[in-house]
């Protein structure tokens, strides 16, 4: 169990020195040098750093390429939207609901005739 490197009085308060500051005792803490896993070698750590370095470099390159592709292609033109979405616009969907079938200002007939053409 790791505690901060401070010591307590018997009544549970922190020990302070003459100037009123909390007294630190280095020997009570866990130093970074003692906190590393003793069985992992420097080679293994380097290996994992290289592995993650390669993966994230690759991801960065792919990210730039994909982003560039998206920018080059650009968004769909507003006019195209209805054609691309076909029968999936909100009104069409509403018209296709079974309980409203054919009842919403004849939209469904329009959609069908457009689908055929």
């Amino acid at each position: 169990v790791v505690h901060p490197p401070v010591s307590w009085n018997s009544d549970g308060t922190l020990k302070v020195d003459d100037t009123g500051h909390v007294a630190y005792d280095e020997s009570l803490g866990l130093r970074t040098v003692n906190a590393v896993s003793p069985v992992i070698t420097a080679k293994q750590t380097l290996g994992s750093i290289i592995m993650f370095g390669l993966i994230y470099s690759l991801l960065f390159v792919v990210w730039v390429v994909v982003l560039n592709h998206k920018i080059q292609v650009g968004p769909e033109a507003p006019g195209d939207h209805r054609v691309v979405m076909g029968p999936h616009t909100y009104l069409d969907t509403a018209a296709r609901r079974q309980d409203h079938s054919g009842s919403l200002t004849g939209l469904q007939r329009e959609t069908e005739s457009r689908d055929e053409s």
Partner: protein, 342 residues
């Protein structure tokens, strides 16, 4: 609750998390292994990928919670295993990342080389994960060399033995079969017919490896059956496992894929149970006997930590189960390819 009861409860909960992970990620790893072989067209391939598309990342969360729970509740065992198996663990992360990246990037461009590359990466990642898990499980079953502080005292080469490799290959076969049954459930038409052939092939392969591993375990790993001698009713689990495995060809023959899938889920749960029962009460068994072994009582956190953890389980588990249910309910039935599919 006493400290011992809390430790046993947490050991059981870790088993539940591992079972959840193995069952859920098991089938999507299996689909990853099968995906270069089963499809004839690019559309088939997309059906395969989309069968696991909305599910695989949720499935892998079970592994994260397993790691997190082990870190919080059994920190000594976590420290020993994750530093002792560091190289294997990095390889595992590499495979898991490779899989995720492959699924996301495959569909970004249309080129043939691009597709082939990510298909290959997806396959390699999918084979690597169960192989590494199996090898690690085999090594842990055999026992690992530990020093007096409970640190791993062996070399990397000692983690790869004929037995651990056999367990690794069996795990790959188990998940491939599990994945093929899942695909049989999720596909239709000519693709399902082709999947059907693979169900039989992968079942045959798994059966051979299962028998080999069982014999090898009984002969070579006497410690694995120690608990079964003390508590004979534990034998009911391997018997149920055999019944579950035997039920798979029966259900497939009857054309009931859901029944077969439940059977293979039960079989995976039985494997995790057998693994845990063979280890108990150890988290990490020392190779030279029991003197240095990290038991669940030695490796655990303080009783307060274990209790607070149980509160989190009480709140978190219903959320996880509800989420899992909603996702699987939403994507129930056969795979449909749409505008936003992979």
């Amino acid at each position: 609750m006493s400290h011992d009861t809390l430790c046993i409860t947490w050991f059981f909960l870790l088993g539940v998390l591992l079972t959840g992970y193995a069952i859920l990620d098991g089938f999507d790893l299996g689909v990853g292994i099968l995906h270069p072989f089963v499809p004839r067209s690019d559309l088939d391939r997309r059906v395969l990928i989309n069968s696991i598309g909305p599910l695989w990342d949720g499935n892998e969360v079970w592994l994260v919670t397993f790691g997190g729970a082990m870190f919080a509740m059994f920190p000594e065992a976590y420290a020993t295993l994750f530093s002792g198996f560091y190289t294997a663990f990095m390889a595992l992360l590499f495979c898991l990342i490779l899989r995720a990246v492959s699924m996301e990037f495959r569909g970004k461009f249309g080129g043939r080389v691009w597709h082939r590359f990510w298909d290959g990466a997806f396959f390699l990642g999918s084979v690597g994960v169960p192989m590494l898990f199996g090898v690690a499980a085999g090594t842990i079953m055999l026992g690992v060399p530990l020093d007096e502080r409970g640190n791993y005292a062996g070399s990397l080469a000692e983690q790869i033995t004929p037995y651990s490799l056999l367990v690794g290959v069996m795990t790959v076969a188990l998940f491939t079969m599990h994945g093929s049954i899942f695909l049989y459930l999720k596909t239709e038409g000519p693709l399902q017919k082709r999947v059907h052939k693979y169900v039989w092939r992968t079942f045959g392969l798994f059966l051979v490896l299962y028998l080999l591993t069982t014999m090898f375990t009984l002969v070579q790993v006497p410690a694995a059956v120690e608990n079964f001698r003390v508590v004979p009713w534990l034998w009911i689990v391997p018997v149920l496992n055999v019944l579950a495995i035997a039920n798979i060809p029966r259900a497939i023959y009857q054309g009931r894929p859901a029944y077969a899938f439940i059977s293979s889920c039960a079989s995976i749960a039985a494997f995790v149970f057998l693994f845990s029962a063979a280890l108990f009460p150890n988290m990490v068994r020392a190779a030279d006997g029991t003197s240095q072994s990290l038991t669940i009582y030695l490796a655990s956190s303080s009783p307060t930590t274990l209790k607070i953890g149980l509160l989190f389980v009480l709140v978190g588990m219903p959320c996880v189960l509800a989420y899992t249910f909603v996702v699987y309910w939403t994507f129930r039935g056969k795979v449909q390819i749409g505008e936003h599919s992979y």
